[in-house]
């Protein structure tokens, strides 16, 4: 009796876990039926290209969410990294140092908000919110509000170049996701990330330095955000003081849509990939079926909200 019940509840759990995949398939079928241009190889290329920057950022956010923290500064960190790379290039710092400096600046600021959360106990939503102002402020200060057009050549290549007909941007995104996945799945650090999120008290009892783990995931999130910024300016062709500010909701939204728990310990890169595709297909498909363009954001918002409700219900079920 108990055996049977636990089996059906496990099936139910499995169905819930796979819900994002069903959502994605349903969206693909829906847009495939209602739009003639949706089911083309070219359009799939478009979708991948559209979500590539989100994917780079989303990799770091996945780490942060797995430890039950949040990072609200990633988009501003991307903007800042782009600005720093362009600023240093304009200042004739030899290549590739502008890019290295940009990534280090992002990682360092990530460490600052991470340490504030891990060692001082400032909730991560607050420490990263404050950090987003610092990052945004630095971007404005360095550019004086202007647009910078001197970009590192590597940024241009990775942002808008192709190799064998495939966009470098898509390759960078895929590699970032892959490295993230390998770290989470096949390293001790990755296991510590999951266990810290699943039950921080128990992780500490088993000798895991949970504070260090929390500080590190926030460094990772800032670093991948910086990478998105450095590549992103190449795609835009310029660095502006607000270039990627609007990406915050999409980047976090994609990770949550994929099913990574907001309470930590459950999820991962495969889930994030599904979430990215849901978001990409949705955005792209809504363009294809020529919905009123003023309704696009509303529809995306409703779907994200529904995913959040689902995420919470799922976590609640596990608690009981």
């Amino acid at each position: 009796m108990a055996e049977k019940r636990s089996r059906t509840s496990r099936l139910a759990e499995r169905a819930r876990e796979l819900a994002p995949v069903w959502t994605l398939l349903a969206l693909i079928v829906f847009f495939g039926v209602y739009s003639e241009s949706f089911f083309t190889l070219e359009n799939f290329g478009n979708i991948l290209n559209q979500v590539a920057l989100l994917a780079i950022m989303g990799t770091g956010i996945t780490f942060v969410l797995l430890t039950a923290q949040i990072d609200l500064s990633v988009s501003y960190m991307a903007t800042l990294a782009g600005v720093v790379a362009a600023y240093a290039t304009a200042g004739h710092l030899p290549q590739p140092w502008p890019i290295v400096v940009a990534l280090l600046v992002a990682a360092f600021l990530g460490w600052v908000s991470g340490a504030a959360t891990a060692y001082l106990g400032i909730p991560s939503f607050m420490s990263t919110l404050a950090m987003s102002l610092i990052a945004s402020g630095l971007s404005l200060y360095l550019t004086r509000g202007r647009i910078l057009f001197d970009l590192p050549p590597l940024s241009k290549t990775l942002g808008s170049g192709r190799i064998f007909g495939v966009k470098w941007l898509v390759i960078v995104a895929a590699l970032t996701l892959l490295v993230g996945h390998l770290v989470l799945r096949y390293t001790r650090f990755g296991r510590y990330v999951y266990m810290t999120g699943a039950n921080p008290k128990a992780a500490e009892l088993a000798g895991v330095n949970t504070r260090r783990i929390v500080a590190w995931v926030m460094v990772i999130a800032a670093f991948t955000a910086g990478l998105a910024g450095v590549v992103g300016i190449g795609r835009l062709g310029s660095a502006t003081p607000t270039a990627f500010d609007g990406m915050l909701i999409d980047a976090i939204g994609a990770v949550v849509l994929g099913g990574t728990s907001l309470f930590g310990g459950v999820g991962g890169i495969p889930q994030t990939v599904v979430g990215l595709l849901i978001l990409g297909v949705l955005r792209n498909g809504l363009d294809q079926v020529s919905v009123n363009i003023y309704a696009k954001t509303l529809i995306t918002g409703i779907i994200l909200f529904a995913a959040l409700v689902f995420n919470i219900l799922f976590a609640g079920k596990k608690e009981s």
């Binding site: 636990s6 001790r188 296991r191 510590y192 999951y194 266990m195 699943a198 039950n199 008290k201 128990a202 992780a203 500490e204 009892l205 088993a206 000798g207 895991v208 330095n209 310990g265 459950v266 596990k318």
Partner: protein
Amino acid sequence: MEPLLRLSQVRKRFGGIEALKGIDFEVFAGEVHALVGENGAGKSTMMKILAGVIPDYEGEMAYKGRALRLKNPKEALDLGIAMIHQELSVMPELSVAENIFLGRQPTRGRVVDWRRMFAEARRILEALGYPHVEVERALGDYPLGVHQLAEIARAVTSGAELIIMDEPTSALSPMETERLLELIRRLAEQGKAIVYISHFLEEVTAVADRITVLRDGRKVATLRAEETDKAELVRLMLGKEARFFERTELAARAREGKPVLELTHLSRPRAFEDVSLALYPGEIVGLYGLIGSGHFELAETVFGLARSSAGQVRVAGKPLRGGPRRAIREGIAYVPPSRRSGLFLEKPVYQNVSLPWLDRLFGPARELAAARRVTEEVGLRPPDPARNVGAFSGGNQQKVAIARWLIEPPKVFLASEPTRGMDVGAKDEVLSILRRMADAGTAVLLVSSEPETILAAAHRILVMAKGKIVAEYASGEVTKEMLVHAAAGELKKSA
């Protein structure tokens, strides 16, 4: 004379368990009536009926001569029955006066009349014998004794005539305890009735007029305090027929070599004070105490989860400092008293088991193999290390918590309440795992508030009360009665 409150033939069952089996109880105005008994004797059920928390019971309650049935705590409060819980409901950020008048501040029109509130608070505290407390200051600035005072003052000002106090002294220092007992006497002299629940029998005999002893949901006796003593109370609480597992013949093991764990003058504020002890390889030392006596906190501190304020921990002669990671490296293992806080219920057994050892044991295949070995050793059922821990029964979850430390046998095993909430069979299994570990050379500190658990496994027994080690038994016959008696504590005079 009419009793202020009377219970007649009160019964209460929870599912199949009868918690109260026909209780008669009365308390008079101007009387301190203590209620004592072991955990599970029915004290808290009775208390909850008196305070209106449990409205569905069999039997009668009469208050001031009128039969009534309380439907909720609010109704009890309105009639003048106040309950002061062990966990105080005060707000440390608010002033002492605001805490006293919480929810019923004196007002002028629609705004709080601060001046009147402060004046009245001052008057009340003076009447209660605490004229030095500044009512304008934040309650959090004062020690716990004053928090308790604020809560009592709140009950008094709300017009309470019957005040129920649940373990009011368990967190207080000896001096604070003494002052509280004086306050309770003063309240009784002012005509209040007090129902006083406590494990600390010396305090009970000092403060109470009468004492009612409960055992297994029945009233065993109601005695006049001056005609009884601690020894008689313990006997009545435990009953005559001590069962076989309630006594043991201790045989301390021959101590070979040097102690593997030494604590010298270890202190942690509000937890324990000046604790010294030594553990030798191969022995199981039982550390018994009532909940709140500091024994769980001691184990936690040795493992590095909390800092001590003074004293030293040494492992195999070397001073130990730092957090759990360091402790594990030095060969210390720890199981916390609450299973949920130590395990990852949503993760498979093998990940729970391998977590402390990932620096040498990483990769699902190796982890599974190691987990299979140690879960077999503890007799995990079903023997499936790939299953989530949450899918196992409580007893088997505890086996997982212990199995983790068998990957590499520890020098010292701190096991806090390892058999809590288990049936007899599972308890026995867990204790025999501890015995096997000791036989293999581990020093086990078995920390528990269940005398039966300690008596069943320990070679040597230490008893803690109010943060101090108050008794040690190394040989001869030890009974549950002796342990409970020692843990029930002395009433310390503040000299």
